[in-house]
């Protein structure tokens, strides 16, 4: 069996060459004059690609197209960024932190700066590398507060708010809409994101409703997809409120499996990442479900000219409305543009250097489709934003949101220099 006859060999070549051809095709894409090259790292494969990676990628394309054309984006009239046109280089975020740090180092050889990272693990791993390589790097989606709590960075910015506010706001929302909540339960994916989300939510609830009772806390595996037993446990726990930071397919599967079994009737379910599923799944999400969008995005976004333009441009190009990852990508690009243009004007209208851009970026505040963003925390490197929650109400076969409550940044994010955990436990002390 060691040697193969010719037939199979040729076949085998056929089998394996084909992808190589694909690769070659991709290789065709090259560069022209001297545009600003931005490496964009988001999930192109795996479970996070559909809900997060691709919407973000598409938003990036929409915004950059418009910026390069110039005069299209309301409030951002000037062409490109700091004068030069923009070119995006996409890289897959899949494969774990080890791969990502390696790929990051490869990527920065080819681009002027990097925007990316949905997974908190990748953000924590890449930030030090960025600092070491002295490369401007903007984290656009990942949620863990640890990035700027554990360290301070010069080259790293995050234009999205931390996940703290999702769960603090969720707790505030619940305590306002269900004033007499006695028992809460949780079902969160068994990894850092789920664990942090639950502990923030629980801590906040304990502050807001002293003596709150925990009925059950479920920790299914990430991407397990089968929640029968967990749902039974939740059903029999008799909790008034069920908190879940499930995202993407897991969240959708959970809804599909739980709603026929009446979990949503028995208790108020809070889905802090529910928004990404609503367009496809809306009909399946029962009335009374509390939905979050990880910020003032999508249906919770302010009705500004910028937002209207973004929604329309995205919808026209891709036939679906933008979801929160799209908003966060747009936010990152527009924040960056603001910084570049500011740096350029303060540089006598010459293309600014990286340090000038960084200086301009710190503590900047800018308009995005999701409203005003302030780089207020982490010595001006970490954005803060308001948080919104709403309750699903079906209106015929159309999904609407009632009891929409908006919480200003200072209500849901700790002040500079205070760890989220301590801030919540301290009873949200404003610090000042």
């Amino acid at each position: 069996m060691k040697k193969l006859s010719c037939g199979p060999k040729t076949f085998a070549i056929a089998v394996s060459i084909f992808p190589m051809l694909l690769l070659a095709m991709h290789a065709g894409a090259g560069a022209q004059e001297k545009p600003l090259k931005i490496g964009v790292v988001t999930f192109l494969s795996g479970a996070a690609a559909g809900p997060f990676g691709v919407p973000a990628k598409q938003a990036g394309e929409v915004v950059v197209e418009a910026l390069n054309a110039g005069g299209k984006v309301p409030g951002y009239g000037s062409k490109g960024m700091g004068g030069s046109s923009i070119e995006l280089v996409f890289v897959d975020e899949a494969g774990g932190t080890t791969k990502q740090v390696t790929e990051y180092r490869n990527l920065i050889e080819r681009v002027d700066l990097v925007i990316g990272y949905i997974s908190s693990g990748d953000c924590l791993a890449v930030a030090p590398a960025a600092e070491e390589m002295r490369k401007l790097t903007i984290l656009f989606d990942c949620g863990t507060p640890r990035v700027f709590e554990d360290a301070t960075y010069k080259y790293v910015f995050r234009t999205g708010a931390t996940s703290t506010m999702d769960n603090v706001a969720a707790a505030l929302y619940i305590s306002e809409t269900n004033p007499n909540v006695k028992k809460i339960a949780g079902i969160n994916q068994n990894y850092a994101w789920g664990q942090d989300s639950w502990s923030d939510f629980l801590a906040a609830m304990k502050v807001l409703k002293p003596g709150i009772e925990v009925a059950t806390v479920q920790w299914p595996q990430l991407l397990s997809g089968q929640y029968g037993a967990e749902i039974s446990a939740l059903l029999s726990s008799g909790a008034d409120v069920v908190h879940s930071s499930f995202w993407g397919g897991d969240m959708e599967a959970f809804v599909l499996q739980a709603s026929p079994r009446g979990l949503f009737k028995k208790s108020t379910v809070v889905l802090t990442c529910g928004e990404t599923g609503m367009y496809k799944l809306g009909s399946q999400v029962p009335d009374g479900t509390v939905i979050g969008a990880r910020g003032p995005f999508d249906m919770f976004a302010p009705d500004t000219e910028l937002n209207r333009w973004f929604r329309k441009a995205y919808q026209d190009k891709y036939g679906v409305p933008p979801t929160y990852p799209s908003y966060k990508m747009a936010q990152a690009l527009l924040g960056l543009k603001s910084a570049y243009d500011k740096a350029r004007s303060s540089n006598g209208n010459k293309a600014p250097g990286q340090d000038q851009v960084i200086a301009a970026f710190e503590r900047i505040s800018f308009e995005a489709p999701g409203g005003k963003v302030q780089m207020a925390l982490g010595k001006g490197h970490q954005a803060v934003q308001g948080m919104v929650f709403g309750t699903v109400k079906h209106n015929g076969n159309q999904v609407t949101y009632v009891d929409v409550k908006t919480y200003p940044p200072d209500k849901v994010t700790p002040p500079e220099g205070v760890k989220a955990e301590d801030w919540i436990k301290s009873g949200f002390k404003s610090g000042k």
Binding site: S16, L22, L23, A24, A27, G96, G121, L124, E131, S199
Partner: protein, 312 residues
């Protein structure tokens, strides 16, 4: 069998070339250092593979080595690279010695699955330990040597050099070991355990020793990787990580102690370019590369570089 005279020469030449060329290929230093780390793990793996055993749990020791380095740096403030390397290796070796008593009784797929189970249990435990950052893991402070930082801003060369030297020594020792009576038992055990026993050798002890060696090397690789990346997380113990090591081992071949490093480097290169030019189908590229090697170089990439060996 292994240990042809030229192996040592090739190793020396390779080391010299790398150390000399290092300063001039800054772009590649990080990738090469990573390959050294991976290569060390795979080096241990081929010691087992030659004995006919496949571990799908080398991630366990890789992870233990890395977390030892991380914890020593993070919580005890130890920074000396050599100390950290030794620490990581020792921790892994100890664990391997303990588990070895059990695993030495297992063969083929059961050996693979039991080792996999152990590494997945560690994965689960780490995911549950929020003190260690759960799945987000935590950052490893830059290591030092003789009081100087040897990685970080601009100068990765020292760590790269250290990595090369460590890999070189490990390869040299492994090569020597494989030429000892016990080392030579590997293919014998793979072929016919009964006969080995009837030669007056204990298959169980032989396998146990080899398992410890493999574990220690994996720990060393993990330690080096942790210092290189500066970040560690439980993914290192996840079965896909272990699977990748087996992948690289087969890619490189088990014919020589040089093969693992060759395999690791080529694997990194393939993946890097796949990520660059084919971001949507890089898995496919890796898969087909694997198939091509299995079909056309059944003895691994090494056999293409080495002169036609008897079984090549």
């Amino acid at each position: 069998m292994i240990g042809k005279g030229y192996t040592v020469h090739v190793l020396v030449v390779a080391l010299v070339v790398l150390l000399v060329a290092g300063p001039f290929m800054h772009k590649w230093l990080f990738m090469l250092t990573m390959s050294m780390g991976k290569g060390l793990v795979v080096l241990g793996l081929i010691v087992l593979l030659r004995t006919g055993l496949v571990s799908f749990g080398q991630g366990l020791y890789y992870c233990v080595g890395a977390y030892t380095v991380g914890s020593l740096g993070q919580f005890l403030g130890w920074k000396n690279a050599l100390v950290l390397l030794v620490g990581g290796t020792a921790a892994a070796a100890v664990l391997a010695t303990i588990l070895g008593f059990l695993l030495a009784n297992y063969r083929s797929i059961f050996f693979a699955m039991l080792s996999l189970a152990f590494s997945m249990i560690l994965f689960g435990l780490l995911v549950k330990t929020s003190a260690l950052g759960s799945t987000d893991g935590f950052n490893v402070p830059a290591p030092t040597l003789f009081g100087k930082a040897i990685s970080g801003a601009g100068h990765q060369y020292p760590l790269f050099a250290l990595g090369c030297v460590v890999a070189f020594i490990a390869a040299l020792l492994t090569n020597a070991y494989l030429r000892t009576a016990l080392g030579r038992l590997s293919p014998a055990i793979r072929d016919n355990e009964i006969r080995v026993e009837y030669m007056g050798a204990s298959v169980r002890n032989a396998i146990h020793t080899k398992y410890v060696i493999a574990g220690a090397l994996a720990g060393l690789g993990g330690a080096l990787t942790a210092m290189t990346i500066g970040h560690i997380d439980p993914e290192m113990a996840y079965w896909t990580t272990s699977g990748e090591f087996v992948f690289v081992a087969i890619l490189g071949g088990t014919g020589s102690v040089i093969a693992p490093f060759l395999g690791a480097i080529i694997f990194e290169i393939i993946r890097t370019y796949a990520y660059q030019y084919s971001p949507n189908t890089w898995q496919m590229v890796l898969g087909s590369a694997m198939l091509l090697v299995i079909i056309f170089l059944p003895a691994g990439l090494w056999s293409a570089f080495a002169y036609r060996s008897r079984r090549g």
